[in-house]
Amino acid sequence: MSEPEDFSQSVRTAPAASQLILQLGAWEGPLDLLLTLARAQRVDLAQISILALVDQYLDFIREAKALSLELAADYLVMAAWLAYLKSLLLLPKDPEAEPDPAELALKLQFQLQRLEAMRDAGQRLLARPQLGWDMFRRPKPEGLATERRAVYDCSYYDLLTAYGAITARRTKSVHVVRRRAVMALDEAIERLEYLLGRSLDWTELSRFLPGDLTDESYARSVLASSFVAALELTRQGKATLSQGAAFAPILLKPRHDG
């Protein structure tokens, strides 16, 4: 083998701690380092001796410290934890021990196996055919058209109500005031003045009203207009008004001296 070996190869062939130290910084944390050490044992991770692995890790940390290499805190925390695990594993088996050191060792083993499995899976994924490298899709597909078609919602009721509303509005807008039967004031004045000129003495206002008033509303209009006409003629000095008491008949007499 004349080709320069890659690092993992060299670990496998010569798992000396000094060589590992040269690679410090190549690991993604303590678990990664542990996995590298475990692989260096060249046994199935399921069969690995956790005790031997712990020793290797502790040796590595010790040597690194001896070389005054900066060690990240988590490597030291892991070292402390592994030293603790090692002491538990070496003590006579205590069935009451909590946590159970054998179980802890199994969990560590499980974690290493799982990390290795995931690392392997990642490589197998990358080895698969990839889109944009092995397979290609059409770069400029024409695309599928989705036409948005509006469906209008309008019920029969809506339609009829709308027409009802229009009709109502329309009748309103063309509303014509019905021509009511009224006697205009001008007409009343003219009429009263004429009739008054022919009378001589006090005469009841009602006597001046037309006698054939069948339309009641017209009759009221005539009465009102004639009363106002009487007031107007009095103001003009053409007539004199008199009333004996409240609600008594209103009397009217012409004045000729004005």
Partner: protein, 189 residues
């Protein structure tokens, strides 16, 4: 079919190409392999019955969907829209007074009718242009369509209730009020 490996390569190249390719462009991709034309022709023939065809257009080869399948590449997605009040009223006026011109609709509604309102009704398929009125200006008339009758479940226009019916049904809400009309201009909604 000639060389299967060549045919597959041509297939993949033409599929992934950004634009139709000439013979010389194809040669650049597959390398010198002799005359590509027989392979392309065989490939094209093998696609003939499929929904995708391989065609030559002006010396350039390309895949395209079979010309008879265009209608599958579109789909309609329906969205329900509520008609505006102006549109419902306009529709009602057209239904009751058809054929009716736009000025007439405006006069009846007492409001200017925007072109968009009638467009919406035509889009809905309920209103159609119904010839021109033979009066000065020859205004366009509008009428309802058979779809209008179908949508409102009417046998014909005579099924529309008359004013008396509307009043009886309480749809002609109130009688014209007794008081004088307010001295207002055009009343818009």
């Amino acid at each position: 079919m000639p060389d299967l490996a060549l045919t597959r390569a041509l297939e993949a190249i033409l599929f992934a190409a950004e634009a139709p390719l000439t013979l010389s462009e194809l040669t650049r991709f597959v390398g010198e392999r002799g005359d590509l034309l027989p392979a392309l022709r065989a490939l094209s023939a093998s696609y003939e019955p499929r929904g995708i065809n391989l065609v030559e257009r002006g010396g350039r080869w390309q895949f395209q969907t079979a010309p008879d399948l265009g209608h599958y590449l579109r789909t309609a997605r329906e969205t329900v829209k509520k008609l505006s009040r102006a549109a419902v009223e306009t529709l009602a006026v057209i239904a009751y007074h058809e054929p009716v011109t736009r000025p007439e609709i405006e006069q009846i509604r007492g409001v200017a009718v925007s072109g968009g309102t009638i467009d919406v009704l035509m889009e809905a398929g309920w209103v159609r242009p119904a010839g021109r009125r033979e009066t000065p200006g020859r205004p366009l008339q509008y009428a309802t369509t058979p779809e209008f009758l179908a949508h409102f479940n009417l046998a014909n226009r005579r099924d529309l209730p008359g004013l008396a019916d509307l009043k009886a049904a309480g749809l002609l809400d109130h009688e014209p009020p007794r008081e004088l009309p307010l001295p207002l201009g055009g009343r818009e909604e």
